[in-house]
Every structure is written in structure tokens, then in C-alpha cells.
Symmetry: C2
């Protein structure tokens, strides 16, 4: 993606340590989960709303509500995500399923038990009610599968040409058990990185529909609720330090954020990363790197080295973890940076996605 | 608004007691807060998600989170709203302020103390970053004024022509004090209805910008956080049974929902309803009824008759309640129906808005 010329007005962002972006308008890349999204958050949202919970930049905020009687209140995890995926219906899922799974997973990977959801719909005039009904039914069954209840909602309608059929924003609440504390700031040198399965399936499934790519078998999105897999993992291995679901921006974004937040380096082993044959083929054909492609039913866990093999073995007993693999280590070298030892030898830096690879993937 | 011909597919909605709508597509009226919004909720969303909390149709869901140790957990109120107002900036406010106030007010009128917000942005490619920065700064100051903290967020970008600059969905969490229980199901015959000030200001302010109507003074939106007014009211008058903020669909929608939920009738006295001179003039010119026009900083309270005068007096000591007035009674007759005794004499039914009066008002 080419960038428009001209410097951004420094007044707009004030003094900040990050180099000035050259954008003065929103571009698709600001929604891609990579470098530009990161800049928007760090330069515009965080300075404006400045508070400790937001600045932790976890996928969910963990809150404690005071009580009148001085009783120690439970910790509540709170998260929100907007979904603008197109097409609305795709192999393996639809926008409704994605909107439930995405929010449930943000709670689950933070160690919370997802309990309640809200949904706000922005509908475009002319949307067939049959499509809305299908999406809503899909959300209900996704809620049931994930064990959450949708308790409140809202609907707005925009005029034709001012929206795109359906956008859905879900927010979620979950209960964080006492004593549990997962955080992307907790990774330590020596820890191992485990992925729950093949990467890139969601992004390539969406891409294949949009671009009309034919595969020998239908390539489906991996969209799934991770609640039960996370429960099994934490029961077997309470030493897990952090988890992330590598959605927009893929494994690259999730691990760069982890490296940055924990002040550690991450070293990946390309040969160990599970990638399905069709995703690999499609990526080669389209010139994409699977590390940057979105997933909607996968997670990455950071675990002390002594527990890593056992964790992988436990994950493989779960349907959503049967391709789980140890894919790399946390290192003391190159803090804030992710590197990859490639199959053909040599090591390269895995940077944050700098443009927009696949717009509107979730 | 004319309706397309042809009956709605009965398969789509299944058996339901409400007469079949003639729409098979989303129209602007489905977002208007009147009859069509009501139909969409009752026929599509409620049957799909069926659960007690959602079916209560309060403006917020009240939840209790179990704790491991059997301690009685606090009650948490949870609400969500999408904001699609145009223009983004209008006299008295902007979409950011509205997005904070709207969600804070939904919590406050439920008797909760608003504490935390989330915000999800759907941005259209090409939005000037300066506009986004201005909106976000406005949200921050609205949060500060309302005493809430924005703790988590999300940003998505859609391609040019597939959105309309900025849509914002906010979700909110508040703490409901033990023993407090406000509900639109609690109105009883004999109760009085109190409004906190002049009605229709927000809707007419937006309309005047869109239509280029000139007033002698600038007519401003009433958008404001009701947290403090509600606190003062409940401190002085704990007998208050229910409150609602009459936003989309105006006073008419709020009171029809109340009458329906409580199984009571509502009788309004037109002469007692405060309407500003400019709003009255604009409504006459545009053929609008102020009862259907949106408010963003007003509330209606249901209170036992013996406390009504005192409540009005207390409200008038607060800047946001200085035009508070007793506007009607809850009656046993005509349950589910709102009537108005007009200034010129005679009584008419105030029905739910049946089409779309002012699209994208919030």
C-alpha cells in the first residue's frame, strides 16, 4: 500500500516517542491490526483516555467493583469488538458467529470465564430480514456453544449506501477466578510458546470467497469458541503466564505485542509452525505470509519451559487443540522483537504488518 | 413513509401474537425507536435469544456474578448502544459526547452508578484524523464529567462508501446498590409522571442543522449525563419506581413501553409538558409532534403521588432539572395505552411512532 505524501500535523498528536506517521486521514491499514492500528491506539486513543486499565492494552479490562459492605468483590473481565467482515456468510461461519466467538475468546484468553454478552447492530436500509434472522440464529447457537447469555442489545439503521448490510459490536463480561492473573506483560526469557493449531485458516477462507479461489476441498474458517480449550489448559497447567488469540494481524501481531509488553524477545521456529497444505498453497499463490493472516479459533500460550511438553500433550486431547505445537521460545535478546528461524536456514525479523493485507477480515 | 406491498414470509417470524409486518427488508423506521423497532425486537431478537434478562426489555441488564466463596456479589448493570448520528458535530455536542451520555444515562436511569465504559469505533476510510481526535477528546471530557472510565476499546475500518465517517458503539457497566430496584414494570395506578425538563431539544437541534433552519438563538442539543441528577433524586426520594430517558422515539416511546411493561395506562396533560418556544415553533413548521422527538439529557420518573411534588421541587434545585414538571398520571384504565388531554380539550391516544420521523438522530 502506498502512503500519501506530506507529514502529519504534529499538533494533532502532540509530543510522542513514536515516529510521526505520514497519514492525516484514516486508511484501511488503520483497521488491520498491524503497525497503523498500533499507532492509532498509542498516539490517539491512549493519550486521550489515559488510565491504567486501558494502557495495559490487554484484550480485556479486568475490573473490581467495590461493595458497600467491604466484602471483596469478584473480578470482572470486560471487552468489546466491532465486526465488519465481508462477505457476511463464508465457509465455516458468518458475521454473527464471529461476533460471538471473537468476544468470548478475548475473555477466555485473559483467563476469565465468559458469562454475558451484549450486541449492537448497525443495519443498512435494504438488508433482507431473512439475512438478519439467519445471523441472529447463528449468534444464538454460538452463545449456547460458548456457554454465554446475550442479555442486552441495540439496533440502529443507516440509509442505503452509508453502511454495508450489517455491522455488529459485541461486548462481553466474564468472571476471573481469584488468584488467576494472565497478562501479556508476564512472559519471561526461557518460556515456551505454544500454538493451538494450524494458522491462517480464517483469513484464507475469507480471501478465497472474495477472490473466487477454488480449492480441492472447501477451506473453512477456524472460527470457534476457545472457552473449553482454555479451561482444560488452565486446569492441567496453572503455570501458564499469558494467552492471546491471534486474530487481525495474525501470529505476528499477537507476538509483537507480547514481546513489547513483556520487554522480551521472541524466537520462532518456522518448521514447527502448523500450516495447512491449502493455506500454505494459497499464501504462496497470493504472496501472503501465514504469520500475518487472521485466525478466529486459535490461541498462543506462554508457558514455563518445564511445563511446555505436558501442555501440548493436554491440548492435543481437545478437538480444538489436536494440532497444538511448540513453536518457539521467549528470549532475553532483542527485547520487543520477534524473529523467525526459517526452514531454509537463517533468521529474519517478523515485523508488525505495516499496511493492510486483508481488509475487513473480522 | 409508504410501505412496500406484499406480506412478510410467515416462516421468517414464526407464530407470534403481533400482527405481521409488511416489510421483508430493513427500512429506516426499524431504527427509529417506534413501532417498527419494537416489532424487530419482539419478533426477531427476543425469540432468537430468549432469556429472562433480555426479555425484561429494560434499558440495561442487571447481573449478579457468583463467587467461589459463596459471598453475595454486587449487582452489575450492563448496557450497550450504537451511535450513528449525523452530522458528527452539532450545536451542543457531537457523536462522541452522545455516545458517552447515552450509555451513562441508560445505566443511571436503571438506578446504577455508572463506572466503566468500552468504545468500539467503525471508521470509514478517508475520515480526517483531526475529526477523530476531536471526537475522542470530547468523549474523554464527557467521561470525566460523568465520573466514568473508558477501560477498553476496538477500532475497525471500512472502505470508502461502506460506512459514514464514524459509528461508535459504547457499552457500560455500573454498580446497583443493594436493595435498589427500579423497573419499567413497577408503575402502579395513582403514580405520577415527572419529566426533568423541556422535551425535543436534541432532535430539533439535529434537524435544524440538517435542514438549515435558522433560529433567533442557536438551539442546542440537551445531551448531558444524568448521573448526578439521578443521585440527587434517589437520595431525596427512594420511593421512585422507575425512570427512563426518552431518547429515540421521544416521550411517546418511553411511556408506551412503560405502559406495556407495567400493564397500566398513562394519561398525559399536554399543558403541563415543558416545550421550549423554539422547539415548539420548529415542530409546528415541520409538522412534528414534540412527544416523538428525541432527547439526550432528559428523564421521566414514575413516583408515588404523595412524593411527586417534593420530587419536582428537589429536581428544580439541580441544573439539569430546573424545568422539571409533573406531566401526567398512571391510571388503571386503558392498560398499555398512553393518552393525552390536549390544551384545546379532548383526549387522544399517543401511539408508538409508526414510521421514521428523524433518521439517525443518535
Amino acid at each position: 500500500m502506498s502512503e500519501p505524501a506530506g507529514m502529519l500535523d504534529p499538533e494533532l498528536f502532540g509530543a510522542c516517542p513514536v515516529p510521526q506517521s505520514r497519514y492525516d486521514q484514516i486508511v484501511l491499514g488503520h483497521g488491520g491490526g498491524g503497525l497503523l492500528t498500533n499507532e492509532l491506539i498509542q498516539r490517539l486513543f491512549v493519550p486521550a483516555f489515559r488510565n491504567d486499565v486501558l494502557e495495559a492494552l490487554e484484550d480485556q479490562a479486568t475490573l473490581r467493583f467495590g461493595t458497600d459492605n467491604g466484602v471483596k468483590a469478584p473480578r470482572i473481565a470486560f471487552t468489546t469488538d466491532a465486526f465488519v467482515v465481508r462477505p457476511l456468510f463464508f465457509p465455516g461461519g458468518d458475521i454473527g458467529k464471529l461476533a460471538v466467538h471473537g468476544t468470548v475468546n478475548d475473555l477466555a484468553v485473559g483467563g476469565a470465564r465468559p458469562l454475558f454478552l451484549s450486541a449492537a447492530f448497525i443495519l443498512e436500509e435494504g438488508l433482507p430480514l431473512a439475512d438478519l434472522k439467519r445471523i441472529v440464529a447463528s449468534m444464538r447457537s454460538a452463545c449456547d456453544e460458548a456457554g454465554v447469555t446475550l442479555v442486552t442489545g441495540d439496533t440502529k439503521v443507516v440509509d442505503r449506501g452509508k453502511g454495508d448490510k450489517v455491522f455488529i459490536t459485541t461486548s462481553g463480561l466474564g468472571l476471573v477466578p481469584e488468584g488467576r492473573s494472565l497478562s501479556i506483560r508476564s512472559a519471561r526469557p526461557g518460556d515456551c510458546l505454544v500454538v493451538s493449531g494450524t494458522i491462517g485458516d480464517h483469513g484464507i477462507a475469507i480471501m478465497s470467497v472474495r477472490e473466487g479461489i477454488e480449492f480441492e476441498t472447501v477451506l473453512e474458517s477456524d472460527t470457534a469458541p476457545l472457552t473449553d480449550l482454555v479451561r482444560v489448559m488452565l486446569d492441567a497447567c496453572p503455570s501458564i503466564r499469558a494467552m492471546r488469540d491471534p486474530t487481525r494481524g495474525g501470529v505476528s501481531s499477537a507476538l509483537n505485542e507480547l514481546a513489547e509488553a513483556s520487554g522480551v524477545g521472541v524466537r520462532l521456529d518456522e518448521a514447527a509452525i502448523p500450516v495447512g497444505a491449502e493455506v500454505r498453497g494459497a499464501c504462496e499463490m497470493l504472496g501472503l505470509d501465514p504469520l500475518y493472516v487472521a485466525n478466529e479459533g486459535k490461541l498462543i500460550a506462554v508457558v514455563p519451559a518445564e511445563d511446555a511438553e505436558r501442555l501440548v500433550a493436554v491440548m492435543r486431547t481437545h478437538p480444538l487443540g489436536r494440532n497444538a505445537a511448540l513453536i518457539g521460545q521467549v528470549v532475553a535478546e532483542h527485547p520487543g522483537m520477534v524473529t523467525l528461524r526459517s526452514i531454509v536456514g537463517g533468521e529474519r525479523v517478523v515485523t508488525l504488518l505495516s499496511g493492510e493485507q486483508l481488509p475487513r477480515i473480522c
